[in-house]
């Protein structure tokens, strides 16, 4: 096996043993993380749902309206009251307005990467992208930290509906998501490639084949004890068999098993159905689910696009996700994180008659909920025209640190990249205390 060293010359597998009293003496980073230990121990998050909004949704037309700004900024949408006194959001989010007590609105989140790909990497990893390193997405880190590889689970730990910007990066492909590849449709059976049996195969038939496989796969038997690769493949074989033939795995993806009264809240849009599936998967033991809902890149016809295409489905699906999780008693243990890669220019462009908004990372919104995060509050503030944070601002790194704290994961923990370079889970973030108060 490959030996990887850190810049301190400490090999990866030595790291835990050395700890606080090794050759380098007291490890200060260790001290610091001990101070955090209480907060981590208090965390309640066990699963997470990450709702990604690729394209970059306009903050000014959704969760950060500026009705008093000049007309070339403010746009045509009006704010409405929510079920929390003092919090107002867009009139096109009426259902989300009725459950504002469930989530935190972060305003004045700010960064500097105005290209889709780079911005997306930033908000999906919590680290500003580097050319020489592929950071793992949240889901990969959560999978690594919160699952035990030795335990045979019949549901996959990390599912992406339908696919995700969050990849395993340097952690390795074993932490990559299982992509559903499609979004469920109302009234139709839903299956996922590889996991659920298709093609007319029966459990009986597969079991027969697997028995034959057991009979034939004997050449390496003697070598298996001394060989990591062969041992690992045996483990995965057991897990794969469990997953493929398991009723639990099949049923986890079968949204038709949800009661009609529960399912109908989500609506019949692809996004709504994805949210429904996400809540079902989390209930079945999946650790991390990403839901992707694109179409937010509203350079032209911003208002019509939002009003007619984007926001109705978003409002219904996401509101149902919050209330649905609460109804099932899962919101306490499930952290929900909603974000696009950036906000949009406060000043409306005039390229089309109606006007559009362009990429704008300097000021954006994010939502957090569940897992001990106290909903019903707004944290952070943008200036009068929503062009910049009004205070110090919140960085994507801070939100990342907050997310990991809610999940009970020490965001200062170090991993080692393939070249042995030491990398902390979140390089620059500090958890936002107010989110938990």
């Amino acid at each position: 096996m490959t030996i990887h060293k850190t810049c301190d010359g400490v090999r990866r597998r030595d790291f835990l043993q050395i700890g606080a009293t090794g050759i380098a003496g007291v490890n200060l980073a260790g001290y610091l993380s001990m101070a955090q230990a209480d907060e981590l121990a208090a965390s309640q998050g066990k699963n997470a749902i990450f709702v990604n909004l690729p394209g970059g949704p306009s903050h000014m037309d959704t969760f950060d309206l500026k009705p008093d700004a000049p007309v070339e900024f403010r746009g045509t949408f009006n704010p409405i009251k929510t079920n929390v006194a003092g919090i107002e959001i867009s009139e096109h989010l009426p259902k989300l307005a009725q459950c504002a007590d469930k989530y935190v609105v972060l305003r004045g989140v700010s960064h500097t990467l105005g290209a889709h790909r780079l911005g997306s990497e930033y908000v999906n990893t919590g680290n500003r992208p580097l050319a020489s390193l592929e950071y793992p997405g949240y889901g990969a880190v959560v999978t690594k930290e919160l699952t035990q590889s030795s335990k045979i689970a019949d549901v996959p730990p990390f599912v992406a509906i339908p696919r995700s910007a969050q990849q395993a990066g340097f952690l390795g492909v074993q932490y990559a998501p299982l992509n559903t590849g499609a979004t469920p449709r109302p009234g139709q059976p839903f299956s996922v490639r590889g996991v659920t049996l298709g093609n007319g195969l029966t459990v009986n038939e597969v079991t027969k084949r697997q028995n034959l496989l057991t009979d034939l796969d004997t050449v390496f038997k003697k070598a298996e004890q001394n060989n990591q690769l062969l041992k690992g493949m045996n483990e995965f074989d057991k897990q794969a068999r469990a997953m493929i033939t398991s009723k639990a795995a099949r049923e986890a993806f079968d949204i038709n098993r949800e009661p009609e009264s529960y399912a109908k809240k989500f609506g019949t849009t692809p996004f709504g159905m994805s949210c429904l599936l996400a809540t079902r998967l989390v209930g079945a033991g999946v650790k991390f689910v990403t839901v992707s809902y694109g179409g937010w890149d509203t350079h032209r016809d911003n208002f019509t696009t939002l009003k007619t295409r984007q926001l109705p489905a978003f409002d219904q699906g996401l509101a149902a996700l919050f209330t649905g999780l609460a109804e099932k008693g899962l919101l306490e243990s499930t952290v929900v994180y909603v974000t696009g890669e950036f906000g949009r220019t406060p000043k409306i462009n005039t390229r089309t008659a109606e006007g559009g908004r362009d990429h704008y990372p300097r000021c954006m919104f994010m939502l957090l909920a569940g897992g001990g995060i106290q909903g019903g509050q707004v944290i952070g503030k943008s200036d009068a025209k929503a062009t910049a944070p009004a205070d110090a601002g919140i960085s994507p790194d801070d939100v990342a640190a907050t997310f990991y704290q809610a999940m009970g994961i020490d965001h200062t923990k170090e991993y080692h990249s393939g070249t042995g370079r030491p990398i902390t889970i979140v390089r620059n973030g500090t958890p936002i205390k107010q989110a938990f108060a």
Partner: protein
């Protein structure tokens, strides 16, 4: 072996670091003994003593003041080689750490001796020698002369090699620094010691090495000042080391060198692999391709003595050889489609040109240095070629007969075009990785912990790459030509994406369009922050070694290439040799193969030197290198181990089972499930082969379509980050799920016309029925045929014959389609006779029926998946499975499925 290696180290550094036995002539004793006297008035030296002592005390560690943010507003250089910066920080006027007027009050002394106020705890005792060293330096004026840094000539380390025989044995290292002025000092307590494998040997901060529980060999690395020296530590595995070692066959020089090392360790190599194992391993390793069933049978039947080397020669001439190695060269040169977006008006063309250009040259066996020069010294325009002519030529290149035109291209410019590798430091890192097999990125921020390079060396090396520019628009007078071209095309007003789209349309319409191009200019100085400043550079050194003076108008890459391909270059040939070796043995002679650093010495230096020298003597002949390695007995050993070599994973005493690379896996599934004819075709032409896919990137692999999903699952290199780790050969759950139950695998199993199952069904007139069919829907399940089925089919046949006679092709087609549907649903009308040719076998009561030819079918299934014949039990189990299947073809399907899912299939061994 030992001294050879160390001399090589010395040459590399321009220093001479020779480990010889310690002669205590005029050697200054170590600091602890000198400073044990409380009244000593010696003033120690900042570079030689103070900084290394701070290292030993852990002050400049990464978690403490060596962190890039520092700690407690105090920052030291990581690993302490930036003397000037450290000195400045200690004297920071805002918060000085030293007070020469009142030395005892210096924070450098008060903080680390007081656990209450020092965040890092108490580091040393006020009564100890460490305190006195720091104190005397401060009291003596806290001097450091940045302009006169002392030069270390060598480290003399004793002993030079350590052999242990039992756990718990210990050996003390002594390290003497010899400075340029002739001064010798015992610096053992100031040295940084690390072990490369603490299971074999542990080392403490005083240089005491203790034998661990493991056997085998490793190195303890000694680092002081600029020097990094590995000391081999070895513990024999059994009682067979040395004179008791049995006689072992060593037909080639490679074998001799491998066994020389094994003899020292008492490790006896495995037996020779079987012919079947050899053929499968060779085909997969050398050509990325599973052998066909016929090829296996032919090879096993061949009785000639030299059939193995003949096979090697034959496979080296196959198109798959060039395709597979082009993939490998694209990996380490970084052919990434995302990095190449917008570098050509034709999307994806740059990546394809990159791949094809390499593939064609590998097929012709172009010498490696020429191939590398074609990439490194690439230019877009030929000398004196006008911009318009260049654009014409490129436009034509994207028309018909592209392959031929690529074969005419002298150089391949897209290596320099990658978007995230356009600033000099990123280029320096990727260049060092690709062509030198080293990781210099550490030196971007601090002295390299495992080698001699400093930040300064890195910055100078980076400046070489500031002289290459890849731009969308030409410079100088050609800018007007460019703008006129756009005007003539009627698109001069367009910008950005709109312009690119229009250019694509124009070139599709056959018009000549402007192309981006690569050009060179005078290199600029690159500072430690990676910024290149305005003034042209006069000279720079290559990683602290050769100083290159730049002449006006010279292409800065030329001296670099000259240096690379010179016989003395320590990296270029060696890195390639090592990568090729790693392809065949799971690990490199230096491993990981992209980490040729001083602290990571080769497991068998003599072997690496021999192959490197031979490669140079044969003028970088790649096929010579391949032959030299795979004709060795060492390569052809079995994977089955004996008592002495079962724990060995770095001395090549047996073959190591390893998962097939992603492309090879995907191709192997397609090959194993292919009909005989299709398998032939997949060997002869590379169309549709995964090993001939040009592009890769994280994004490309996320595509989730059939072409890339399997590649993603099995970890094809993303070619993102200048690291071998961009490729993953680790097993994962998703891989097993994929092999057992993915639609891709089902589709391949059941494909019509080109599939083996289909071939079997046709040959035996069995219906392609049964569960597991990819294209089936509810109608696929076998249903009871209607009572008049035979009649119905008969009349259908008649109608087909009649329509054919009438020349009604459309009707024939539609009737045939109907017949196909019937057969698919109910089987052929006479299937009852065909499918169940029951033979009474009264000898075996368990077998209720026997499918004729099942033995042969199982044999064929084994040949096409595991490249061997089944043994008796395997044959019996599979035949029984088929016989017991209600539906014969489904029984065969189950057997093929099971074989694809054995570890033996996906593990090369």
């Amino acid at each position: 072996m030992k001294s050879r290696f160390l001399i090589f180290v010395g040459l590399m550094m321009g220093l001479s670091l020779i480990a010889v036995s310690l002669e205590a002539v005029d050697t200054v004793p170590p600091l602890p003994s000198r400073f044990s006297d409380a009244n000593i008035d010696e003033v120690p030296d900042f570079q030689k003593h103070v900084v290394p002592l701070l290292s030993r005390l852990g002050c400049n560690g990464r978690a403490c003041h060596g962190s890039f943010q520092g700690r407690g507003d105090f920052r030291l250089s990581l690993f302490g080689y930036d003397f000037a910066a450290d000195f400045k920080e200690l004297n920071d006027p805002d918060s000085p750490r030293i007070d020469t007027a009142d030395s005892e009050d210096s924070l450098l002394l008060t903080m680390p001796t007081d656990a209450d106020i020092h965040g890092g705890g108490k580091r040393f005792d006020p009564a100890g020698w460490e305190y006195r060293v720091l104190h005397n330096w401060i009291q003596g004026g806290a001097a450091f002369d940045g302009d006169n840094v002392a030069k270390l000539t060598r480290l003399e380390i004793s002993p030079t090699e350590i052999q242990f025989s039992a756990t718990g044995e210990a050996e003390q290292l002594t390290v003497v620094a010899v400075w340029q002025d002739g001064l010798r000092e015992d610096v053992t307590p100031l040295v940084r010691f690390t072990t490369n494998d603490d299971v074999i040997a542990a080392v403490d901060e005083n240089g005491l090495i203790t034998a661990g529980s493991g056997t085998g060999d490793t190195h303890v690395v000694v680092a002081y000042d600029k020097a990094v020296v590995p000391i081999p530590v070895l513990r024999a595995v059994g009682k067979l080391a040395g004179r008791r070692y049995p006689k072992v066959e060593t037909p080639t020089r490679v074998d001799e060198l491998v066994v020389e090392k094994l003899r020292k360790l008492g490790i006896v190599p495995a037996a020779l692999s079987t012919d079947a194992e050899f053929l499968r391993r060779l085909s997969l390793d050398l050509t990325g391709t599973l052998p066909t069933a016929t090829a296996v049978e032919d090879f096993l039947a061949d009785t000639s003595k030299d059939k193995r080397s003949k096979k090697i020669d034959a496979l080296l001439e196959t198109p798959a050889y060039a395709a597979w190695w082009a993939t490998k060269l694209c990996d380490f040169t970084g052919n990434n489609d995302q990095q190449l977006t917008n570098t050509s008006p034709v999307r994806n063309a740059p990546g394809e040109i990159w791949y094809r250009w390499i593939e064609q040259r590998l097929a012709k066996n172009m010498p490696y240095d020429e191939l590398a020069a074609g990439i490194i010294l690439a230019t877009s325009r030929k000398p004196n070629q006008s911009y318009v002519d260049y654009c014409k030529e490129m436009t034509e290149l994207h028309g018909d007969d592209r392959d031929h035109k690529i074969s005419q291209m002298e150089t391949m410019p897209y290596y320099w075009a990658r978007r995230e590798f356009r600033n000099p430091p990123e280029r320096a890192i990727s260049f060092a990785y690709a062509f030198m097999g080293i990781r210099i990125q550490c030196a971007q921020c601090h002295k390299h912990p495992f080698d001699v390079w400093s930040k300064q060396d890195f910055a100078e090396f980076s400046s070489f790459f500031s002289g290459v520019v890849f731009g969308n628009t030409p410079v100088g007078e050609d800018r007007t030509v460019y703008q006129n071209m756009l005007k003539d095309l009627g698109i001069s007003k367009l910008r950005g994406g709109e312009l690119r789209r229009e250019l694509t349309n124009k070139i599709r319409a056959g018009e000549t369009v402007p192309f981006p191009m690569l050009y060179t200019r005078a290199p600029r100085k690159v500072d430690e922050n990676g910024r290149s400043s305005g003034s042209p550079l006069q000279e720079a050194s290559i990683l602290g070694g050769n100083v290159v003076r730049f002449e006006r108008g010279q292409d800065v890459r030329e001296p670099l290439m000259q240096w690379l391909r010179s016989k003395e270059n320590p990296y270029f040939a060696k890195a390639f040799v090592n990568r090729v070796w790693a392809n065949y043995f799971n690990v490199g002679i230096v491993d990981p193969p992209d980490d040729l650093s001083l602290a990571n010495p080769p497991s068998n230096a003599a072997l690496l030197d021999y192959l490197t020298q031979g490669f140079l003597d044969h003028d970088f002949d790649i096929k010579w290198l391949q032959r030299e390695i795979i004709n060795s007995r060492t390569y052809q050993l079995s994977w089955q181990t004996n008592e002495t070599n079962q724990a060995d994973d770095r001395n090549f005493s047996h073959q190591v089972p390893r998962r097939l690379p992603a492309e090879v896996t995907v191709d192997a599934i397609a090959m194993a499930t292919a009909s005989d004819q299709e398998a032939q075709r997949l060997h002869a032409e590379m169309k549709g082969r995964a090993i001939s896919i040009a592009s890769s990137s994280e994004r490309f692999l996320q595509g989730n379509n059939s072409a890339t999903f399997g590649l993603m699952v099995f970890g094809r290199s993303t070619r993102e980050s200048s690291c071998e780790c961009d490729r993953s050969d680790d097993p994962t759950l998703l891989q097993t799920v994929y092999l057992q139950n993915d639609q891709d695998v089902y589709r391949l199993l059941d494909r019509r016309n080109t599939g083996w199952l289909y071939q079997v069904s046709q040959e035996n007139k069995w219906a392609m029925t049964g569960v597991g069919r990819a294209n089936n829907s509810s109608n696929s399940t076998s249903k009871k045929p209607p009572a008049n089925y035979a009649q119905l089919m008969q009349s259908l046949e008649k109608r087909i014959a009649y329509s054919r006679k009438q020349g009604n092709a459309a009707l024939v087609k539609s009737l045939q389609e109907r017949r196909r549907m019937y057969v698919q649903r109910f089987g052929p009308p006479n299937s009852a006779d065909q499918e169940e040719p029951v033979e009474d076998n009264s000898n075996d009561e368990n077998i209720v029926r026997r499918v004729l030819g099942a033995d042969e079918i199982v044999k064929q299934a084994y040949l096409r998946t595991l490249s061997r014949y089944p043994n008796e039990q395997e044959l019996a189990k599979c035949v029984k499975y088929i016989n017991e299947s209600e539906d014969t073809i489904n029984g065969v399907r189950g057997v093929l499925w099971a074989l694809l899912n054995t570890k033996e299939f996906v593990v090369n061994h």
